[in-house]
């Protein structure tokens, strides 16, 4: 049966006056949207094949190509949007589950955009971060309730000798900590979902900046072992690539329970993507499907989680923090509390807008809660229980800018994970087709023809640039508030005000409305 043509999403517009038929676009499009006709020496385009990745537009040397949204419209209908109709048509034809990449794109309110920051005026000088010290260093890990020091050393009682902290000896043994020079980490993205070059870019950038990237559940490629000191290795339900060396290679271990884009859902790397290299890294035979079950089948309850946490701590001789990543769901606060009490050194919470390489659209768009509310709730809950210091909180899921970062921290996060933002830095234009493996930017693909498009030198540089720029902006904002160390902002909700939020939202976020003084 013939497939009913659906209107294309994009229109490729080629300015014939500018097109020099150099065929760069033809060579570069992995979806074969452009073709060259030697007879007429012209290049033509087929808009139906365009996914809107904008690679050709970016690379065209004469700027002859513009990718536009198809102006063809269905009859205006608030309920039955073009997207809805397209989806129904697709499903009517295929009987398949709609698949998508990247995070939720539904217009739920973005609370970040309804929160504003404070700045000093008169009563308190703002600080100039370019010239005065400004500290973003952050430690991720369990902190004790208090410090224990030995009593004064005998010399310190000498006349006129004032003892300082340095005249004591430290009795407290700190739990292992991750030292971050800026409170931003790269979120879990597995080798498999993204290319090795993308992984290398993340790893090198993490090293250069002094932060961490996360392996996701793809295992650790042999070329990435050298970045171990900046790696968080993930243990997920599929346990791919998880073995002793892997656990020892990283600086920290993260147990992945859930992911913001698909709470309650497992994962699936199709066998055709399991190449020789991926097979070695994930430790599964070439060509077999890599299935990540929805739950860990050794964790059906919180005490089971505790069992795994301590199994991992035992395996690594208590030398590195073990954290747990969960999706932000309705019950996130008590769950997080349970996780902290189960011994996790950090809890990563991935919000509704968290990204993915592939997820059923219906899950991505409808399950979970925004990270802003989740962080506020969890931080509150842990403080109420007096256990906030026992674990660090990492906020994830749709962190788009330095202002999102700083607001997340002021709401109570210790640090944030960025995933999509890192991908965008490397070139991604959010065409949401990661699952096709045809990523023209060489990121979400294993096709050797495409992966080489991401030169890790460039990837690293762009990621480093992004983190440097954000860090500087964070410093500027901190300075504006008269704060010169990030720990003075962490959980400091007094520096936040809500704009256009309901009383309930404000209450949940624990912030005052804009216009209200201290």
């Amino acid at each position: 049966m013939a497939k009913r043509p659906t209107p294309t999403e994009f229109i490729i517009e080629r300015d014939e006056g500018k097109c020099i038929a150099c065929q760069v676009c033809v060579r570069m499009c992995s979806n074969d949207a452009h073709s060259y006709d030697p007879e007429t020496d012209t290049v033509t385009s087929d808009s139906t094949k365009c996914v809107g990745c904008h690679f050709c537009e970016t690379i065209c040397p004469t700027g002859a190509i513009i990718i536009k949204r198809n102006p063809s419209e269905f009859k205006l209908n608030a309920n039955w949007s073009a997207q809805v109709i397209r989806n129904i048509t697709k499903q009517a034809e295929t009987s398949g589950v709609l698949l998508t990449g990247m995070g939720c794109d539904k217009p739920y309110p973005v609370y970040w955009d309804h929160i504003v920051l404070n700045a000093s005026q008169v009563t308190n000088p703002s600080i100039d971060p370019l010239r005065e010290p400004m500290e973003l260093r952050t430690y991720i890990g369990r902190k004790p309730d208090r410090i224990e020091l030995t009593a004064h050393s005998p010399q310190s009682t000498e006349k006129n000798k004032i003892p300082s902290a340095m005249d004591y000896r430290l009795l407290t043994k700190l739990s292992p900590q991750l030292k971050l020079e800026t409170p931003i980490l790269f979120s879990a993205m597995s080798y498999g979902s993204i290319s090795l070059n993308a992984c290398i870019s993340l790893a090198r950038a993490a090293k250069e900046i002094g932060t961490f990237y996360n392996t996701g559940e793809g295992g650790l490629h042999k070329d990435l072992y050298e970045y171990g000191a900046h790696t968080i290795v993930q243990v997920a339900s599929g346990r791919f690539g998880v073995h002793r060396e892997y656990l020892e290679a990283g600086a920290a271990i993260e147990i992945k329970i859930g992911q913001g884009a698909k709470p309650g859902i497992g994962g699936h790397l199709p066998g055709e993507k399991v190449s020789e290299e991926i097979s070695q890294t994930r430790m599964i035979p070439v060509g077999t499907d890599a299935l990540s079950p929805a739950p860990h089948h050794d964790i059906y309850s919180i005490e089971d989680l505790k069992q795994l946490i301590f199994a991992l701590k035992e395996a690594t001789r208590y030398s590195k923090p073990v954290g747990v990543k969960i999706s932000a769901v309705h019950n996130v606060a008590p769950i997080a509390s349970g996780i902290v009490r189960a011994g996790a050194d950090f809890v990563a919470i991935d919000g509704l807008r968290g990204g993915t390489g592939a997820a059923p659209t219906v899950i991505r768009d409808n399950v979970g809660i925004p990270i802003e509310l989740a962080i506020a709730a969890v931080d509150n809950r842990l403080r109420e229980e007096g256990i906030r210091n026992q674990a660090s909180l990492i906020a994830a899921g749709g962190i788009r800018s330095s202002s999102d970062v700083i607001k997340a921290i002021a709401l109570g996060a210790d640090a944030v994970y960025i995933g999509t933002a890192a991908l965008v830095a490397m070139g991604c234009n959010l065409c949401q087709r990661c699952y096709t493996g045809k990523c023209n930017w060489g990121i979400a693909t294993q096709d050797p023809y495409l992966t080489k498009r991401l030169n890790p030198d460039i990837g690293t540089r762009r990621l480093v640039n992004l983190l440097r720029a954000w860090s500087l902006e964070i410093k500027e904002m901190l300075g504006g508030m008269g704060i010169n160390a990030i720990e003075s902002l962490r959980g400091n909700r007094e520096q936040l005000r809500g704009v256009g939020l309901s009383d309930t939202d404000l209450k949940l976020l624990g912030i005052k409305p804009a216009g209200e003084a201290w």
């Binding site: 150099c22 690379i59 004469t62 080489k452 030169n455 030198d457």
Partner: protein
């Protein structure tokens, strides 16, 4: 300081933008649209991209230290620029005997037979700070480094 162009084949996407920009640089007008659409004879690039499967790389004169083309040139047209170390062809002296083509192990000298026959090769974009292929390679697969 002598600069060398290095090719990193693992990052060559095979887009051939280097060829496009090389052609434009060595055109009369140096205007991309005119070079392609308005110049006759059509200028030719001095860089070539080799491609096989997913492997590709751009190639142009390596300006070898021990350049065989310098030895093979019977007219003395091929010379080394003292300042940049580049191997250049004095097109005025070149008579198109193709001895250089015979000895170049990279196969990066080509015959320009439009008009006077001359050997056409990379000149490191004389006058440009960085050769245009290096400057315009979108993936930094062609890099220009000072000789180690």
């Amino acid at each position: 300081m002598v600069k060398r162009i290095y090719i990193r084949e693992e990052y060559c996407m095979g887009c051939r933008l280097c060829e496009v920009h090389c052609l434009v640089q060595h055109s009369k007008t140096k205007n991309i649209i005119k070079a392609y659409k308005g110049e006759y004879p059509k200028p030719i690039p001095r860089i070539i991209v080799e491609e096989k499967g997913y492997v590709s790389f751009a190639l142009q004169c390596r300006h070898c230290e021990d350049a065989p083309c310098l030895e093979a040139c019977i007219t003395g047209a091929m010379y080394r620029d003292k300042k940049t170390g580049a191997v250049l062809c004095d097109e005025d002296k070149c008579i198109g005997c193709w001895m250089c083509i015979m000895v170049c192990p990279f196969g990066v000298i080509s015959r320009n037979i439009e008009g006077k026959k001359i050997a056409s090769k990379c000149d490191l974009c004389v006058g440009e700070e960085v050769p245009v292929c290096v400057k315009n390679c979108p993936n930094e697969a062609i890099v220009c480094e000072e000789e180690k």
